[in-house]
Symmetry: D2
Subunit: 334 residues, 4 copies
């Protein structure tokens, strides 16, 4: 495609260092996750997060989210999440499948972020009564569906509330890298004390893998069985591990995210008055009319409509500075 791409980060090319890493493990090794690289993942991620974790590769964010939650939520329970969360809106009912019919309990919240207030507004009215689905976990998205980052103290408040209620805490980190890059804090602080994290890689220069990080090994023990049971245990897992380790190597994941974020900031600076949400990651939600969108598309910018009076622009690890500047100018000139 020759257009200036702001459609999504989810189709961007695979980073060259990942290609190299995959080629380097072409030779046969033990199948499934028995290979040398898959076995090295726990240590690599534990080091990156400054906290012991078990890391499993899995092909998609949907599978990562749902497998993680399946270790926390019994079929008769529920997951507290934002009403615009990916698991509610965009996963084709995958949580219903993986959680065997457990229910999503939907909260409000500005910028698609939960707060203790919006969580408790849903949780507190639930009586301990078999007629009502009981919450078993909370899921938050870092960065949120509107590209906003939870600050460490916000996560801490949610984690404290959740754990005090006996609820597990999951973080959908499809764009965790962008949030961590924005926050400028160590990975461990951008995750806080969640029990499991879906660590996104595909939107950040990966080809075909995400990671699930479990900060409680008991959850990982269940997840291994569930991953196989879901047909997500690939026999040549070394190619997935290679991608993830290459991402961590030299903090490539942060470098990629910084590039994408920088491009987003370039554009944001040109349209502050049109922004529907703070730009803290690599997504911009920009108020503009259909005519304005048409004008931008005539200038060869590719992006999605967002409802009837807005557009969504997404930058990626490989967004060209030139394209971002051009888009900034084009929006300014509308």
């Amino acid at each position: 495609m020759s257009a200036k791409q702001f459609l999504s980060d989810n189709a961007a090319p695979c980073h060259p260092r990942l290609w190299d890493a995959m080629r380097a493990v072409d030779e046969a090794d033990s199948p499934y996750d028995g290979d040398r690289l898959s076995q090295a993942m726990d240590e690599a991620f534990s080091s990156a997060f400054g906290r012991e974790c078990v890391a499993l590769w899995v092909a998609t964010g949907t599978a990562a989210n749902c497998l993680a939650l399946s270790t926390m939520v019994q079929p008769h329970g529920g997951v507290v999440c934002h009403l615009e969360a990916h698991i509610e809106m965009d996963e084709g009912g995958a949580p219903g499948f993986y959680l065997h019919g457990a229910k999503l309990l939907l909260c409000e919240g500005d910028h698609a972020k939960l707060t203790v207030d919006t969580i408790s507004a849903v949780v507190e009215p639930i009586r301990d009564d078999v007629h009502q689905v009981q919450p078993h976990a909370v899921s938050i998205t870092q960065a949120s569906e509107y590209g906003c980052a939870y600050r460490p103290e916000e996560i801490a408040q949610i984690a404290d509330y959740a754990h005090a209620k006996g609820l597990r805490l999951h973080m959908d980190g499809a764009r965790f890298a962008n949030a961590a890059a924005f926050l400028g804090v160590p990975a461990g602080e951008a995750a806080g004390s969640v029990d499991a994290l879906s660590f996104g890689a595909v939107k950040n220069g990966g080809m075909s893998t995400e990671a699930i990080l479990f900060f409680d090994p008991a959850l990982a023990d269940v997840a291994r069985y569930r991953r196989k049971r879901a047909g997500h245990l690939q026999s040549k897992g070394r190619f997935m591990a290679a991608q993830l380790l290459a991402m961590l190597e030299g903090d490539l994941w942060l470098q990629n995210a910084r590039s994408a974020n920088a491009a987003a900031q370039e554009i944001a600076s040109a349209c502050a008055d049109r922004l529907m949400h703070p730009v803290e990651a690599n997504e911009l939600f920009v108020r503009c009319t259909a005519a304005e969108r048409e004008a931008l598309r005539e200038q060869d910018f590719a992006f999605y409509d967002w409802g009837i009076d807005a557009a969504r622009f997404v930058t990626a690890w490989n967004s060209r500075q030139d394209d971002a500047m051009a888009l900034a100018r084009a929006i300014s000139s509308l």
Copy 2:
């Protein structure tokens, strides 16, 4: 690993032409299966099979089998299969997950192959009674779990029986290429009139993808939703489509299978009296004592024990002729 590899075909390297094909689509295209290559799969597979089909990529054989069956079997139904079928023995309960608790109805059969007799021995005693799980589909494996190929007429008999009973027919083709290469018939004849085929690629030089072929488009319509719901709709699907199309290009899939089969025949010719099953694909099940296995391993041959008095040797697309001949000699000399 420096050993002479006969452990499995499921960890062999990715074929160079697949690497090239993947690199060629690195540039962003439409996400999921909207890219040019994913869209070309139906035509490519229909042409290869001489029969209209819808082709979907999916990461693993387990997912392929279970997604295919999920379009054929209601949760209250059952799947007739061999008691040593992969779906029964090796998929960690994935059929129970994907089929929402539907039951596997187990048949006997030499060489892990079903016949109308062994199928009907299970099906006929089932009364149309709500206390008993009713069969909704039959699943056969080509080549079978013991490396034996169904002849076209055998498939035809099973298909006729199944369809007459109102049952769908699925074929697990994790090693379909090896069976087709052995039979020397067109792909369409090696599949017969099955309703869906799990077309294996990973064991035949692929990296990370299998295909499900649906010969009834109504089943494919369901499968698309179920694939997403299972977290198997990858956003950079073009890398999977690229592998599959490269496999079909110039019949690479058959070439790879012929190489593996030839290596297997080389070995088989040296141990005909020890074979537990005819060698018709790329697996050999060879009677030998623990001491004999030890002797082979001392000569640097890598393989799995098969129970207490046998070994399993598996060749792959890249098995070296030298290694196969060496193994043949080593077995002869036991």
Copy 3:
């Protein structure tokens, strides 16, 4: 309990004619639903509804609703219903269980009633896209969760819309009798052209059974298997069939409902200005302060709070006219 009972109809005594009917079938007959009375249900209900149907007994309304829906909705689909529907609010996640994770798609609507407008506001934005759960059925409640009855023309509009969209239509009739009695139309018109109806009996003088009526026999064929699979095929089903047939005999179901409705009207007439919803069945939602509720309870009236500024009163087939008049006077005097 000696209080004047307006808590619920779901704990009222069993009607004497049902006791008699059960005693009359004490002697052993064929087990499950093979007995004479279970076999007579199709004809009895078809006659009562003026439309061919298949009638299955089942112990609870939750099971009736969920079994009915399980024949209409695939696991990857959804059920359009009101956001205060019983299946959403009060069944402990049973739809998630019975529908294998299918999703409830929630609509607004005054008095907990759906309209084509509120249904289409949910249905129309759903793209035919695997990322979004597709609707497979609509479920409405007659009388609604706020005790309001759908008029035949309202049902016809919804049915037309649903069927034109390829969606099945289910009716939760936990208080169908009260709605039919209020409407004063034949049963068939109070149900309209729904595909299945959960016909309530327990709240209307039954002991332990509801019926599911299927107006499409293909759905009933599936339901029979699902009922057994859910552990709802009782071996002495004759006691359930006896209750249902006794309900139909001489229109006892309508007589009981008329008694309950009359008591509700008695009360309603005394507090028209306090009513939150029209009183069209046997439930009253009455605005009143905590102090007022306290005052009523001191006069020995039993009922539930409804939020912080209202009360819910439910009459039953055996509500005493005296008690209803006393309550009417008490509310008037607040």
Copy 4:
């Protein structure tokens, strides 16, 4: 039916004392299991079993078995049971439904009884490997599907093995009363240290209820939610509790079982040489030809064929001594 009934105990009349007990609670009480009698069940069963337990009513044995197991077995796990167990053979796939696709792991064993040997023959070969379904529980049937009772020491051996392996132990007690009556030991000894017991009542003079006894309250806490979620929480639960309490009152459950057992012994004494299994409860499996069965039916005995060369006779709490003697004579005269 005027025939001499030996078809099944599952359609026999309801015992008069249960009728009386139900009539006595006709007046409204708290709904669901909040009524006085439901609340009294824990104490009554704890007293009967000499061991603290939580007792829940549920309508059928299938629901009792599957709900009990659903508290012990995760969806990715398995239940070790006899290959002729009711949960495997006769429940229409209900375990697949309630356990979300968990697998039944089938064992052999004489008289449909498990032993540590037959259990370990299935359990020990299972590697701790995600490709294989791991056992989470064992289920045994007291009396077995062939009417044979586990001795207390046999249960102890199985319980010790299971618990040492980290497996829960469930007992299907559809005919527990008959086993306890035969063994002549206290209820607690006939159950041994199982974690949950499906306590049968319907086949022993009940109308519409079984009990699940949980000897670990944590399992019961889960079961309460699952019972509602399965549509098995009846709103007039007092009628079910009344049946169960009446069964325990004055050991009616044992009296009824002794009557049925005595009738079975009467018949057994006449055909010892034809018996396929020891007669230890109220079922007889008797070798006899088709012609012999025809002869018996001409004498007005009702029973089921058991395969092609046997018959099954089942006695019930109300079997007439005269009928049993008549059958004994008739078999003797064949």
